[in-house]
Each structure stands twice: as C-alpha cells, then as structure tokens.
Subunit: 393 residues, 2 copies
C-alpha cells in the first residue's frame, strides 16, 4: 500500500472524533480530519487541543496536529484516502425520532469523493439497521457507485469525555461489516490502531450492541432513582443500603436529577421509536417507563427543594434558591438534555425566586440561557444537583 | 457463657435454614433446629441430608446431625438457648400482599419460650420495617416481655440453593439491630460463624438491602427479556449482541420465560404494595412494569411456539407440543411461581395438544399438576424453557 493509500480520513472532529483521529495518527497512520468548524481545524493544525478536559489529548494534538493529523473543512482534501471513518452526531428531534440531518449532509459530501474499493466505517451511535439502510443508500446516491463497489462497516465509539484515550487503547471495541468481506477488511484496518478489537457477525449487531449498553445504563439509573425515592419515603438511607447491596452480582447505580447528555437519554429512543413504528408497543414498555422515570426526576427534586424551604425563616416567595450547576454532567460544559438546566427552569416556571450558579459559567453565560445568575453566598438555599445535597450559605 | 447459654436455636430448617444451622454447628456451636416437619427432623437427626442438591451439605449433616445439630418439632426443646434465629418463609398472597401467616405462627411459638435478655435475629426476606414492627409486636404479645427486655436484629439470608454453603462462608452478609445494642450483640454472635459480616445502622436498612438486590435482579431480567424481544423483531442475535455489550460497566442479564421461585418475583411486591398503600403509585412504576414484563413472557413464548409449528407438516391441532421442564429453575424440584409450569398450562388453555416432560418428575407427578405427560421422543415439537431452544424429535 502506498503512503497515499494508507491515509485514513476521520469525518467529524468532535468530542468523539478528535480523540479517535489522534489515536489513529499516534499509531503512525497519516490522518485527514474533516470538520465543518474551521476555527477548530486551524486550532488542531496549530497543535492546540480544543478539548482540554480530555486527559492525554493535549500531548497527542501537540505532537501530531498539522503534521500526521491534518484538519480541514473541505472534503476534497480527503480525496486520497481509502478508508473513511464517519463520526458525526445523530440526535433525536423534539418528538424523539432520530435526526439524521447532520449525518446525511456528511454522507452526501463523502459520496462525492468516494471511489471504487474504498472502505467507509461508521462510528456514530444510531438505530440498528442504519448502516445497511440509510447510510448505504445515501452513499450510493451521492457517489453513483453500486453498493458492492465500496466496503461498509460499523464500529461504535465507546468513548466518554475525559477518558476517551484510555477507552480507545484498552476498552473492548466491536466492529461488524455490511457483508463478510467488509467486516474482515474493516477489522484489518482498525487492528492497526485498536488493540482490543472484536469482529462481530454484522453491522446491525454492532449497532445493537452500542444501543443496548445505553439502555442498560438508562434503565439502571431509573431503577436507582426509583429505589432512592422509595428509601426516602421509608426513612432509609439509600446510599448505605446501596453500598451493602452491591456485590459481584448486583450493580445498583447512583440516583440523580435524571440523565442528560447526547448518549444515554437518546439511545433508548432509537429502539422505542422503531417499536412504535412497528406498532409493537408492548416490546418497549420498560425502556419507555425508564425514560419517563428519569425525565421526571426534576419534579421530585423540585418538591424536595420546596420542602427544604421550611428550614428557612422567610416567606417562601422571598427565598433565593440556587441550583449549583446546570451542565448535564459535573465538569463538562455541555447542556444537551441537561436535567439540571431543566430543573432550574422548572423552579422559575413555578414562580419561585430561582437562580443559578455554575463554576464553568459566567454571569453572561447563565443569562443567555434565560436564567438568573447568583453568587452562591447570596442565596438562601443551594442545591447541588451532582452531589444531591442542600447547603445554606 | 455456659455450654447451655452458648446454644443457638434456628427456627425453620428449610432450604435456607438448614444450611445455616449446619454452618453454625460446624463452627463448634450447639444448635437446636426447630421445624414443623417431623419427618425432616428425624432425617436430620439420623445424619441424612434432605436437600441433596445442596453442595457440601451432606457431609455437614452426616457429621453433625443428631449430635451438634439436633432437630426437633417442639419449640420447648429450644428453651435453653439465648439466641434464636428465625428463618421461616414469607410469601405473597393471591393479591401479591405479603403473607406473614407462617412467620406469625413461628413468632407466637417462639414468644412462649423467650426470656429476658435473649437475642432474636430474623433472616427471612420481608418488607423494610417488618422486624421493628410486626416481628417485635408479635414477640412482645406472646412473650409478655417489653420491647427493651429482649434484643432484636435482622440479617438477611443471601443463599441460593446449590451454593448456600459457599455463600454463607464467603459472601458478604449484613446485619442490623432494632437498636444499637441489639445490632452490636447480634454482630458479635454472628461473627462466631460468619466471616464476611457487615454491621449496618439498623434492621430496616438491612431489610431494604435484601429487597433492593431482588429488585435489581427482577428489573434487569425484565430488561434482558425486553431487549431479547426487540432483537427478535429486528432480526438480531441477542446472545451475540449481549456477549459483546457486556463489560465491567455493563451487566445485561439472560432472557427467560420469566422469573420464578420464592425470591426474585416476590421481593419487588414488598415495595410495590407498600407504595400503593401510601397511594404513592408513581414511586414504583419501574418495579411494577418489570414484574409485568417478566410475567407476560409466557405469552411471548406461547406465540413463538405456535409460529414454530409452521415447520411441521401436520394440522396444528394434532401437533404434540412438549414443554421440557416445568420447575421454576433447572435442576431444582420447586414450582413456586414457575413460569414454565404456567406456560404449559397456558398452551393447554389455548386448546393446543400440549404435554410436559421433566427429568425431575414422574408421569404421576406431572399428572397431579393437571398436565399431560409425554416421553420427549413421542412429541412433534419440544421447547426447552431453560435453554430457550426448540427441538424436533
């Protein structure tokens, strides 16, 4: 294989794509990274890491950015590659149906530079069947190739912002082809930069694997939340009970204000909506109820906050309540489906004197979200949604 | 402590009580075992093990039965003991409310021999609050003692028939007192025969720990069943997906015909019914749906069996369908809430030509359950409910 042929393109340099691109480059392979964000591309090419919270990424970007990892906003620049890894987001829309708009745009652009014999590997989490269905169709349409004229596989990202590099280097990663040949080829290519790699029988199985993991997490967080509420009712310390209930066969999760972010609260919908489309409603009852239990946790916490106000010798309307943190996860400045942000808004909707403080956000940041900023020591009651603790300054 | 004082009584010599009694005896302590089943008592005193499927129990009963472990059906014989361990069953009734009738009978009998300063430890799994509530009340009523005149604690059994001895010897065991003094005393007594022992803050917490574990299992089996059905719909091999989805943070369980036995399908009801009593229905939605998903699995399998009949070149009414195993678990001759038994009955109700074969049961055993016996090779279609596999003899 010539130097040119050995190049790999990574389409999408977000929180999932950039760590992958860096790991591929670090294995000695030339990487062309494609992202619509021109400023991010320039940053990477200057050797600057745009995801500071990602452990170890800074060194890799410093070492390879602009050299073995070249970022560009033009698909044309990736034309020489023979392997294209696509890792752009698929969200859900307001009705919780998958929103493929960003993905479809990327596939149409990719199709224009796709050649006979190229390999395309998808990494984005989406509903089982998408690789062989929507992805293949869009690529055929935009490239003019027949489906057997290019190879197609799926290998779900299993990263988690903050530990993505160790996930890529140590964690088991699965890969499956649209057909046997695609699977074997994709496995051989990925084996060059992923140690713990497992070939499964099809792209669809690989798609299901990732979605199932998300469902396991969502259902088990819902279970923790339900048991937490029951313990509260019964006057039992949930955390003491959980510490002693968990052992090698029991893995009760932690309670929360619900589940936010691009992953766990999204993936169950991929199955629920597919079952609803098939009018097979009884097949997704547990997944649906888990989503509801988690999303309704903000109502539980709103009531707990109200009851907590009994400890303060002031009229309820004048108690300054502060939600201490509105990102969806502590330490990560992201708000997608953030239940903490939703909790702050819910308190405002109820007419309470509600404020927000977040160590990651400026007063202006908070105001642009339509919320009121407060310094923690100016509030009467603080609720920390990550520790689930109340404080009285 | 005199020889007499050091004696421990174990009330209930069933599948949970007898292994415990044997382990206590094996630690060097004299045990009086009380059970209403006179034949079982005679057997134990002859050194014969009534639970052959329990690994290692035979040696212990042979060694200690009738010597350091004396079984009796008379509570009076246990009068000399200072510690009473109660491990008799609590089931649920037809409305899924806890049925304490056996427990209450045992407590009334125990009360008659209870003295000032005695310690009572409950091991039966029941709703949080039962030790301090119903148990204490019944003991006070029947003994005439005030509640502070005897010690009371709770330590849930975590055995599983077949591996009970290793569970008792290695697995973490929790214990909690009605009050601090009871907890410490019970911990000291149990420490003589349980190595991996953990004192928790109250009997109620210890009660919740055990119920929570059961809920974790039930919900996760329901999740496995739901994902299994979705995979079937989508044409995905669930087992391949599960094998690759599971890792240190993901523990997807195995699908089944539902959950049977005295434990897992019972414990969630302890919380569900308590929440319903408090009119707090939204607090147990996930637990309730999980029970329903698991109990309805027999309807899913009935349909799968019907569709499987398409492979047989005979009119449907004449196809001999055999359920190969009707115990609730493979290798254990117990039928409590057996979903396999329920599945066989469901097929009969639907008017199909349904039969049963079970290696643990005689033709007569099967008939007494109102079912028809068949030799496996005489059937047209066999369904193994433990392996979830179809066979065609």
């Amino acid at each position: 294989m010539s130097e040119e042929c050995a190049k790999i393109a990574v389409i999408g340099l977000g929180n999932a794509g950039l760590p992958l691109a860096a790991v591929v480059a670090d294995s000695g392979i030339m990487v062309i990274g494609v992202d619509i964000n021109e400023e991010r591309c320039r940053q990477i090419n200057r050797g600057e890491n745009p995801i500071p919270e990602e452990a170890g990424l800074e060194e890799l970007i410093k070492q390879h950015g602009g050299k073995r990892l070249v970022a560009t906003s033009h698909f044309e620049d990736a034309r020489g590659c023979r392997t294209y890894i696509v890792i752009v987001p698929v969200f859900v829309d307001a009705s919780n149906n998958p929103d493929f708009s960003i993905m479809e745009k990327a596939l149409r652009s990719l199709g224009k530079i796709l050649k006979k014999g190229d390999l395309v590997v998808l990494e984005t989490t989406f509903p089982p069947g998408t690789t062989q269905g929507l992805v293949q169709n869009r690529l055929c349409e935009s490239s003019g190739l027949l489906q057997n004229e290019f190879f197609l596989a799926y290998s779900p990202e299993r990263i988690m912002t903050g530990v993505s590099l160790s996930r890529l280097r140590e964690f088991p990663k699965v890969i499956g082809g649209r057909d046997e040949e695609s699977g074997i080829l994709a496995y051989q290519v990925y084996k060059k930069f992923i140690c713990n790699l497992h070939l499964v029988s099809s792209a669809k199985v690989a798609e299901m694997i990732k979605v199932m993991e998300g469902c396991y997490r969502d259902v088990n967080i819902a279970l923790a939340n339900e048991l937490f509420k029951i313990c509260q009712d019964l006057g039992i310390d949930f955390f003491e009970a959980r510490d002693n209930a968990n052992h090698q066969f029991c893995h009760i999760h932690l309670p929360s204000t619900g589940v936010g972010g691009h992953c766990i609260p999204v993936y169950p919908w991929f199955l629920i909506k597919e079952m609803e489309k098939r009018e097979h409603f009884s097949n997704c009852r547990l997944l649906s109820v888990s989503r509801e239990v988690n999303d309704e946790m903000i109502r539980y916490w709103a009531e707990r906050i109200l009851l907590e106000c009994m400890k303060i010798n002031k009229p309820l309307f004048s108690i300054k309540i502060c939600i201490k943190g509105i990102t969806f996860r502590a330490g990560v400045k992201e708000f997608y489906h953030s239940r903490n942000l939703a909790l702050a808004r819910l308190l405002m909707e109820k007419g309470l004197d509600a404020y927000v403080y977040d160590p990651l956000l400026s007063e202006h940041d908070v105001q642009t979200k339509g919320l009121c900023y407060i310094e923690p020591d100016k509030a009467d009651l603080l609720f920390d949604p990550f520790l689930l603790k109340f404080e009285y300054p």
